[in-house]
């Protein structure tokens, strides 16, 4: 639905661009669903700064964005993970240019549970026991927790579709580079869908960007390991990198950004743009 709507917007912008004259510059921006709201907010704000430039933003997942960059059909690919070596090589082979990385913000992946869930903190071992292929935790009682309203105390695992950057990042953090998730999780295809389902399902546990936190769900306090006290996913702990499940969010361009694209990326570092990062629920990149 969202994709269709975005496609429609892109068309509408493209058509209006045609009628106003050819000098209007289009920037194609596509990729991670985690970043799509931020990128959209930026695109709207940037229109006020540079009315002659239209930025068409669409989601679809990090994989989609990078695949489009490799094919040379977008100017900027949004990614919630680092580009892989094979993708860099594919882009070079296809277009003759290597992708260039721009870190735009930091995101903390929150572990979401139903608001009635009494869980105080959660460790990597517990998450691995719940989500890992070899994990044995299937009931909340395995974690010594009793969730009110949860039938059979069964843990309802909620995950993402397997090409999502969030999926890959969470898997790597919880299970290491070689690990696999246990089958049987509900694999949803949107960051917000995960939070929505957790809100309505007392037995559920899920993961999604902390930007999707609402009043109606609870985020677990995550233990960084080594016996250190658990850390809440907040803006402050994401900026300080104390919160363990945090990651950088990227924009990739083919080769060094040129012309309007370079101007846009430069603008994203201004105070006005950085405020939008925080409004979207992410943490800004600390200035060196």
């Amino acid at each position: 639905m969202k994709k269709l709507l975005l496609l429609f917007i892109v068309f509408a912008i493209a058509i209006s661009g045609c009628t106003k004259g050819a000098e209007r510059k289009m920037i194609q921006n596509k990729g991670s669903d985690t970043i799509v709201n931020l990128a959209q907010a930026w695109a709207e704000e940037y229109r006020k700064v540079a009315p002659s430039v239209a930025i068409a933003v669409s989601g679809g997942g990090t994989g989609t964005g990078i695949a489009s960059l490799v094919n040379g059909t977008v100017d900027i690919a949004n990614a919630s993970r680092e580009i892989e070596e094979s993708e860099r090589e594919a882009a070079h082979k296809n277009t003759g240019k290597y992708p260039v990385e721009h870190i735009i913000a930091f995101d903390a992946l929150a572990v979401y549970v139903h608001k009635d869930n009494p869980i105080a903190s959660i460790s990597r071992e517990q998450l691995s026991c719940i989500y890992g292929e070899k994990g044995t935790c299937v009931k909340w009682s395995d974690l010594n927790i009793e969730v009110p309203g949860c039938s059979g105390q069964e843990i309802v695992r909620i995950s993402r579709q397997n090409n999502s950057g969030t999926y890959a990042f969470f898997r790597e953090w919880v299970l290491g580079k070689e690990g696999d998730f246990k089958l049987g999780s509900r694999d949803l295809s949107g960051s917000k869908d995960v939070v929505d389902l957790v809100e309505h399902t007392p037995c559920a546990i899920g993961y999604s960007g902390m930007g999707y936190k609402t009043e109606k769900v609870k985020t677990a306090c995550v233990e960084p390991g080594d016996g250190k006290p658990c850390v809440e996913p907040t803006m402050a702990t994401a900026i300080s990198r104390e919160y363990p499940i945090s990651r950088a969010l990227y924009m990739y361009t083919l080769g060094e950004a040129q012309g309007e694209v370079a101007k846009y990326l430069e603008w994203t570092k201004t105070e006005a743009a950085q405020k939008i990062i925080e409004a979207s629920g992410y943490a800004r990149v600390p200035k060196n």
Partner: protein, 311 residues
Amino acid sequence: MTSPEIRPRRSGARSETMQHIERWKEFVIGSVIRICGFSAVVFVFGIFFFVFKEGAGLLFGGLDFVQFFTSPEWYPDSPSNIRYGILAIMAGSFAVVVMAMIVAVPLGLGAAIYISEFSSGMIKEFLKVIIELFAAVPSVVWGFIGLVIMNPMIINVFNAPVGLNALNGAILLALMSLPIIVSISEDALKAVPDGYREAAEAMGATRLQISIKVLLPAAKNGLLAAVLLGVGRAIGETMAVLMATGHAVNIPTSPLDSVRTMTATIAAELGETAQGSDHYKVLFVIGTLLFLITFIINLTADLVVKGIRKR
């Protein structure tokens, strides 16, 4: 296409030309219609060919068939151990379709019998229009109903841990295949000659007895075809089941388990896999398999309907 029925209405050279033009017209229109008819064949085989071609590289080069059909482990993007087992996904499709038919067949046949035999006038027309309206609801709307309305309902009614499960998907699929089952069954019942009804009535049978003991056996081929087409509709449905079944790779042991179907797997994963990768190809292999399944079901339905005509 010249037709022997066209005879000159007037004599003279002018009507000869007219006749000539008529013949040409007939020929052109006939050819266009014939091309339209054959184009369907071309499209179907073309689609099959392209779907098959995309998957062929893996099908003949390295796909472990034993694992593919017997393993429930679907790990197309595992960092350490990639496994393409679709047993759980096939079981998911199968479970949802069977459950949908358990709901839809009695409901659909009942509705068809009522519309064809027991109702008349305004009520009959009204019911037919309403049931046809079912077919006009887009599948994404059904999916939305599953997500927003059925999910909390199933949690409350069945005390289930989660409402996105096989039951949810099956109810939606039942409602979606209902219009097909009802309208084709009703046609089949209507096709039973009135002589059967009159003869049974003359023997003193009640209307219910006529429906169950005379009409159902007489129309059984048409009814079977209706059910098979309903199955075909249900097995190919994507969007609603993607949203409502929970999309979990899991061999279901109860109707309240979340499942994942073949169509939903393709829909969720195809858009974002790298073109030409093994993962991409294996999705096309699943597509080919799905195509074969629906083809066989539709062919069977067709042969069954042909069986009626021979009688």
